[in-house]
């Protein structure tokens, strides 16, 4: 590559060295992948969904491979805030790349408490709220399908934190735009989309579901068209940056998300089939730009010709 492509992007107030972050739940706490790529070459790492208390998660089997994708029903197993702060965060804090902590709770008060618990912790650059979880007080329906709940959660986290707040939207809705607007109005600095699409796999011979939880979230290349559409719809409706994800395997996939309107992207399931995926996607995106005569990746953002 002769020309040096400018790769830095700004997601709200956060400056990333390049637009590629590792997606929540697919990259552990970063350290798991340290042998397979240079973490300092990523735009950022989004950590596994964190709850105040540790969670064991769902019984196995928790994952099953499907056509060009996989279903997971991990059940948000995680180490809890205390272990995260003591044992996981120091490693991440020492990295050059940005650290985004994905939050999970079952009620507005719990979200507020979690944000409060993380307040002042060194090394966290932003919070990403996972609203795809069931709202226990709201009768178990996911927060993410209801604009009023999404706004309330966003506000609760904002009021208990000094960090930029990103809201990660679920694709399991008829129209993501009203929810995106509600999150924006409540003070979200950015929106990440999409989370996994609810799905199911069945063993016809045994007549049983393949996941113990019966249903799970679909991810991987199979969902890229859905992600692209939602990023396209949402980025046109809101004034805040969108972080696009869903099925990104290559730099060209990332470029497609930028064209659809995303300012940055996250790489999830691709890290499983190739643990160096995040860095590879970042490198391939820069190569794509060089080949296409794009001097600055920001030129791609929303540049879709329709």
């Amino acid at each position: 590559m002769g020309t040096k492509v400018k790769t830095a992007v700004k997601v709200g107030s956060l400056e990333l060295a390049n637009p590629v972050l590792a997606a929540s739940g697919t990259f552990g706490y970063g350290r798991e992948f340290a042998k397979y790529l240079d973490l300092n070459r990523l735009g950022g790492v989004v950590t596994k969904g964190l709850s105040l208390e540790p969670r064991d998660g769902n019984p196995p089997p928790r994952i099953v491979e499907t056509a060009a994708g996989m279903l997971n029903a991990i059940g948000l197993a995680n180490v809890g805030a205390e272990v995260f702060l003591e044992e996981k965060l120091p490693f991440l804090a020492a990295l050059d790349c940005k650290v985004v902590v994905n939050l999970y709770a079952e009620g507005i008060d719990q979200f507020a408490g979690l944000a409060e618990r993380l307040r002042g912790a060194e090394g966290i650059d932003a919070l990403e709220i996972n609203v795809s979880c069931p709202n226990v007080k709201g009768g178990g329906v996911a927060f993410g399908v209801d604009p009023i709940s999404v706004a309330a959660v966003t506000r609760a986290v904002r009021e208990n934190s000094d960090l930029p707040v990103w809201v990660k939207l679920t694709p399991n809705v008829t129209d993501p735009v009203p929810i995106a607007l509600a999150a924006q109005k409540a003070g979200a600095e950015a929106l990440s989309l999409i989370n996994t699409i609810m799905g199911m796999a069945i063993d016809a011979r045994r007549r049983t579901p393949r996941l113990a939880n019966v249903m799970g979230g679909l991810s991987g290349p199979a969902i890229k068209p859905v992600g692209l559409r939602m990023v396209h719809l949402v980025s046109r409706a809101v004034d805040i940056p969108v972080v696009g994800l869903g099925g990104i395997m290559t730099g060209e996939d990332a470029a497609e998300y930028l064209l659809a309107g995303a300012t940055a992207v996250q790489v999830g399931t691709a890290s499983f089939g190739d643990p160096s995926s995040c860095q590879r996607v970042a490198d391939e995106l820069a190569q794509f730009c060089a080949q296409e005569g794009v001097a600055d990746v920001n030129e791609l953002v929303g540049a879709l010709k329709t």
Binding site: T26, K35, L37, G69, N72, I74, A77, P221, D274, R280
Partner: protein, 259 residues
């Protein structure tokens, strides 16, 4: 830092069973019996995930994998030609504790793959190694069995067979041979189907002999990140990641009732 292994050779050693030889110097140097590697057989989205395989042996720069074709990934692997590079990362997980004098190794089917690596390593260190190898039937496995018998003889490993159809060794399940063999054993290492492992663990516990099992679970990452590969731990222990806390686990850590 993408990790590759180059296919050196691949021989059929039984019905749908292959011995794969990979050039993977760093993995071969770092592996120990019971650890595993992730192997990606396709370059594209089908199949999307890598497959976990125990290391069957390490010879210089070479890594040996013994595997059986059971689905599309292993079928694709069986057609891979020498010279091809496969994404491969490892060694992963915790291996067997080889520090004992009279180990009893209990293998069911392809469970022999990691155990044979352990058997040879322990015999080389001077342990008196006994291997009980259970199969549904010996039909179709003659090459593999001949190789194992030769290596057992050369390595002073005692090798006994059971088959469910009586075609080789004693007729019945491999656990039938255990009570007697346990009398001399100072540790049991086992790998095979879950029902077999449960029976082995229970016999070893009754005889008060320490027991380690190598477990399998569907895996996505192999490196401890996705939390997809868990098995239930004894009450209070939550779940254990097969790729991280395992694949070799002390039998007493596993909740066999919920497995």
């Amino acid at each position: 830092m993408r990790k590759y292994a180059k296919v050196v050779s691949q021989e059929p050693v039984g019905a749908g069973v292959f011995l794969l030889r990979l050039e993977a110097p760093a993995v071969a140097a770092a592996t120990s019996p019971g650890t595993f590697v992730m192997l990606r057989v396709s370059g594209g989205p089908e199949p999307l995930l890598a497959r976990p395989f125990s290391v069957h042996g390490a010879e210089g720069d070479h890594l040996l994998i013994l595997y059986q074709v059971v689905g599309r990934g292993t079928e694709m692997l069986s057609r891979v030609e020498p010279g091809r590079e496969l994404a491969c990362w490892g060694p992963l997980g915790n291996g067997f504790n080889l520090d004992c004098q009279r180990p009893l190794l209990v293998a069911g089917g392809m469970g022999v793959a990691p155990l044979w690596f352990a058997a040879r390593a322990m015999a080389e260190r001077g342990a008196e190694v006994s291997v009980l190898f259970g199969l549904a039937g010996a039909g179709g496995y003659s090459e593999l069995l001949a190789v194992l018998q030769d290596q057992a003889e050369a390595g002073k490993i005692s090798l006994s067979f059971t088959t469910e159809d009586g075609s080789l060794g004693e007729k019945g399940l491999v656990t039938h041979l255990m009570p007697q063999a346990l009398e001399r054993a100072d540790r049991v290492l086992a790998c095979g189907p879950p029902a077999m492992l449960k029976a082995v663990a229970s016999l070893a516990a009754e005889a008060e002999v320490a027991c380690q099992v190598s477990l399998e679970a569907p895996m996505a990452c192999g490196v401890g990140a996705c939390l997809g590969c868990v098995v239930p731990a004894v009450p209070g222990g939550g779940y254990l990641r097969v790729c991280q806390e395992g694949p070799v686990l002390g039998a007493a850590r596993v909740d066999w009732e919920r497995l």
